[in-house]
């Protein structure tokens, strides 16, 4: 298998993954690790500049190490996608939350509008004073 040796090394009861931190952030690695707490003992180390090594020591000695390693890779991808989507949708979620809040309490919308107008007037005043 081509994957073996390049990013995945295995031994008796353990598998070692080497991944690029530019692709998978530390948050992604911790989250994937958290999912695997019941299946393996996890040790994370830093190798070269952007290389992270993840050691998985299987709790079940019968479990094939390739499977454990590759399923961990899938979990990394899963969380990388989750965090990317979260970032991409952050603005849309914020707008939806604001709308939901303003629908529930319309006075909040008036307050927010008043505050925004006051801030704009303040900014204009400052600019006029500078000129």
């Amino acid at each position: 298998m081509q994957l073996s040796g390049k990013i995945l090394k295995k031994g008796n009861g353990w598998v070692k993954l080497t991944i690029d931190q530019k692709i998978y952030s530390l948050s992604t690695i911790y989250s994937a690790g958290y999912v695997f707490l019941d299946r393996a003992y996890i040790y994370i180390d830093k190798e070269k500049k952007d290389k992270i090594t993840i050691w998985l020591f299987s709790k079940d000695k019968k479990e094939p190490m390739d499977t454990l390693g590759m399923q961990f890779c899938n979990e990394l991808l899963n969380y990388a996608h989750y965090f990317t989507s979260l970032k991409a949708n952050a603005n849309a979620v914020k707008i939806l939350m604001q709308r939901a809040l303003f629908s529930a309490a319309p006075s909040l919308a008036n307050e927010a509008a008043t505050n925004e107008i006051e801030q704009l007037i303040g900014a204009l005043d400052k600019r006029q004073k500078k000129q």
């Binding site: 690790g33 958290y34 707490l37 003992y41 996890i42 180390d45 050691w55």
Partner: protein, 75 residues
């Protein structure tokens, strides 16, 4: 106890070897606070924290590693 990648020996003592950029200062401090009976000593050596645990059992070291991941995610 056999030496594993996460362990190191110094002055006849065994330490967990934790990279500072992976297992940060706050995490180690939190673990020490939560498990004062388990964490005997923490040393700083170049890019690593060396954590001495009150055990000679490999299983306890492995459990502690998972506990750190749990704390990191929970915190």
């Amino acid at each position: 106890m056999a030496i594993h990648p996460f362990l190191t020996k110094s002055k006849n003592k065994v330490f967990l070897r934790l990279h500072k950029k992976i297992y940060d200062k706050n995490l180690i401090a939190c673990a020490k606070k939560e498990e004062p009976d388990m964490v005997r000593n923490v040393l700083s050596q170049k890019e690593y924290y060396l954590v001495e645990l009150d055990t000679n059992d490999k299983a306890d070291y492995l459990d502690f590693l998972n506990y750190l991941i749990y704390l990191k995610r929970a915190g």
